[in-house]
Symmetry: C2
Subunit: 377 residues, 2 copies
C-alpha cells in the first residue's frame, strides 16, 4: 500500500526537484497574492476601517506592494528603511508644518516651500552618493516623500500629528503582514542563494578549465569539429565575470536575514564578496585562454604534444582544487584536503616549468596563487 503511494508520488517529487526554481517563484507569487488579500481585509472589515480613516488604509496596501521582495532579507531591509524614512520624514515634516503655522498668513506656505526645497535637495544629493545609493536609496526616497506629504498637508489640515500617527500605524501593519508571509511560509533566503551560487561557481570554473585544455589539444588532433565547443565552455566564465552587481545586492539582503538553517547571525557575508572578486579574476584568466584557442592557427603539433601531458595534469589538479574548495564552502568546514592541495599544485607547476612554456606557466601560476588566497576562508 505504502509502496504504491510512493510510486504515484515519485514523478511529482522528481518534477519538484527539477523545477525547484520555478516552484520557488510560484510560491513567492502565492505569498504576494495572499499578502495583498490580507491587507485588503482592512477595507473589508468595517469597524477597523472607520477607525483609521479611509485614505490612510491605502498606506498599508502601498507598503505591501512596494516592500514585498523575492528574498526575505530584501523585504526586511526595505521595511526597516521605509520605517526609518517615514519616521524621520514625518517628524521633520511635522516640525516644518508647525513652524509654518506659528508664523501664519502668507509666511506659512513660504516656510514650507523653502524647507521642502532645502530638505528635498539635500536628500536628493545624498541619493547620488554611490555608497548611500547602494544601501539606503529607498529609505531616503521615502524620507523625501513623507516629508513632502506631511509638511504640505499641514497647510490645509489641522491634525497633522493625527494623520502622521495613523499612516505610520498602517505602514507598520503592512510591514507586519509582509514579515509574516515572507518569514513563516517557505521563506526564500538570499543567504542560501548566494551560498549556492558561490559553490556552483567553483564547479563551473573547474569544468571550464578542463574543457578549455581539452579543447586546446583536441584542436591539435582533429580540426574539423573545432567550431562546436569553444563558445559554450566560456559562457560560464562570462556569467561569473558579470556577477558583481548581483553578488552585492544578495550580500546586502543576506545581512538582513535572521538566524536560520546553517547560517548564524554574524555569518561573514563580506567574505563572500571577496571570494566573488577572486573568482571573477580566475574567470578573466580562463577567458583569456580563449585567445590561445582561436589564435594558434599554425599547428605547432610537436610543441603541443610535448606540453600536453603536464598541461593536462595541471588543469586536472587545478580543477580538482577548485572543486575541493567549493565543496568545503558548501559544507562550511575547513578544507580537509588542505595539506594535499598545495603540494599537488606545486607538483603541477613543476611539471609545467620543466617544459618551459611561459604562456601556460603564466596562467596557471596565478590561478594557483588565487586558489591559495581562497584558503583564508
Amino acid at each position: 500500500e505504502k509502496r504504491k503511494f510512493q510510486v504515484s508520488l515519485s514523478p511529482i517529487v522528481s518534477f519538484v526537484q527539477k523545477n525547484k526554481d520555478s516552484i520557488k517563484k510560484i510560491i513567492h507569487c502565492i505569498k504576494v497574492g495572499s499578502a495583498l488579500v490580507l491587507v485588503s481585509l482592512v477595507y473589508f472589515v468595517d469597524p477597523l476601517c472607520k477607525e483609521v480613516g479611509d485614505d490612510n488604509a491605502m498606506w498599508a496596501i502601498m507598503t505591501v506592494v512596494v516592500i514585498f521582495e523575492f528574498h526575505a532579507g530584501a523585504t526586511l531591509g526595505k521595511g526597516f528603511y521605509r520605517g526609518i524614512g517615514t519616521v524621520l520624514g514625518g517628524g521633520l515634516g511635522c516640525l516644518a508644518a508647525i513652524l509654518g503655522e506659528q508664523v501664519g498668513g502668507i509666511g506659512n506656505p513660504f516656510i514650507v516651500g523653502v524647507s521642502l526645497f532645502i530638505f528635498g535637495g539635500a536628500a536628493t544629493y545624498a541619493r547620488l552618493i554611490p555608497n548611500i545609493k547602494k544601501r539606503y536609496d529607498y529609505g531616503v526616497m521615502i524620507f523625501i516623500l513623507t516629508f513632502n506629504l506631511v509638511s504640505v498637508s499641514g497647510l490645509r489640515e489641522e491634525n497633522v500629528m493625527e494623520i502622521a500617527r495613523e499612516r505610520l500605524m498602517m505602514i507598520v501593519m503592512g510591514f507586519a503582514i509582509c514579515i509574516c508571509t515572507t518569514l513563516f511560509f517557505f521563506p526564500a533566503w538570499a543567504s542560501d542563494e548566494i551560498h549556492n551560487s558561490m559553490v556552483s561557481r567553483f564547479e563551473d570554473l573547474a569544468s571550464s578549465i578542463e574543457g578549455c585544455v581539452e579543447e586546446f589539444f583536441r584542436l591539435a588532433g582533429d580540426k574539423e569539429n573545432q567550431s562546436v565547443h569553444p563558445i559554450a565552455s566560456f559562457r560560464n566564465c562570462i556569467s561569473v565575470l558579470n556577477s558583481k552587481a548581483k553578488d552585492e545586492s544578495l550580500v546586502n539582503f543576506a545581512k538582513w536575514e535572521p538566524w536560520h538553517g546553517k547560517f548564524g547571525l554574524f555569518h561573514p557575508w563580506e567574505k563572500y564578496q571577496k571570494i566573488g572578486e577572486v573568482l571573477r579574476e580566475v574567470a578573466a584568466i580562463i577567458l583569456s585562454l580563449k585567445g590561445s584557442l582561436n589564435s594558434s592557427k599554425e599547428p605547432l603539433q610537436a610543441l603541443r604534444e610535448s606540453i600536453k601531458e603536464p598541461c593536462e595534469a595541471a588543469s586536472s589538479s587545478l580543477a580538482w582544487t577548485l572543486r575541493e574548495l567549493g565543496e568545503s564552502i558548501k559544507k562550511m568546514r575547513r578544507c580537509q584536503s588542505e595539506p594535499f592541495i598545495v603540494p599537488r599544485l606545486k607538483l603541477a607547476r613543476q611539471g609545467l616549468s620543466q617544459v618551459m612554456s611561459p604562456f601556460k606557466l603564466g596562467k596557471h601560476d596565478t590561478a594557483e596563487g588565487l586558489a591559495i588566497a581562497c584558503f583564508v576562508f
Copy 2:
C-alpha cells in the same frame, strides 16, 4: 573692462571644468527641489485643490518624488511605465470593482479578493522574469498597486471612475512637471554619459596595456620597486570588467531620450552594449597578464630581453589602435585610419611570431581580433 571681467571669471570657469560631475549633481538637486515646490503649489493654490480633491493631490507629489531620476531618459521611461501601469491597473481594477458591485452582498469582497489574488500573483510572476524585471519592473509594480487600490476602494465608495480619473490627472500633472524640469533646464543625458564612458574606457584600456608591458620589462630591470605599480594599472581593467550592469541601465535610459545634441532619434544604442561586451573581454585578457607579472619570479633575463622590442612595438600599436577607435567613436565618424590599423597590427603580430613566444602571441592575437571586430561600428 571686458578683460577684467574675464579675469574675475576665469577661476570660476576652471572650477566648473574640474568639478563637472558634482556640479551636475547639484543642478539635479536644485531641479528636484524646484519640482517638489512646484507640485506643492497644487496645495498652495486653493481653487485648484478643491477641484481635484485633497487626497488625490497627494498623487502628484508621489509621482514627482518617485519618478524624478538623475538621467532624463530614466525619468521619461519611468513616467511612461507609470502611466501605462496606472491606466491598465486602474482599468482592470474598475472592471473588478464593477463586477463585484453587480454581484453584490458577500460576493462583492469575495470577487475582489479572488481577482486581487490572481492578478497580483500573475503580475508578481512577471516581475521575476529577468527580461521583464530589467525593463518593466517599475511599471508592473505600479500596475499591482493601482489595481489593488482601485478595486478595493470600489468596495467602499461609489464613484470609482471619478477617483481613477482624478488620480490619473494628478499623475499626469506630476509627470508634466518632471518633464519640464528635467528636459528644459540643464538636462543630464544618459546618452552623453554612456558615450563618454565608452570613449574613456578605450583610453583606459590602452594605457593599461602600455603600463602592463612597461611593468613587465621594468620588473626585469630593477626588482626593488616592483610592488609599487602593479595594482593601480589593473584597477581600470577591473572597473571595465564590472561595468555591465551600469551599461545596461544607461542604454535602457538612453533609448528613452529624444533627439538632442549629436544623437539622432534612432541612435544604435545596442551597439554600445556590444562594444562594452568586447571591451570587457579585452579587459579580461589584460587582467590575465597580471598573472605573468606576478608569477615569473625566476628572471629569465635573456629570454625577456629578446622579446622586449617586438612586445613593446606590439603594445604601443595596440594602444594606438584602441585610442584611434575611441577617438572615432567620440567624434562619431568612421575610423579614418582604418586602412592603417590592420597592416600595423599585422606587422606587430609578425614581429611577435618571429620571437615565437606563444604566451604573448596568444594574448595579442585576440586583442587584435577584437579590435577588428570593433570596426563594425
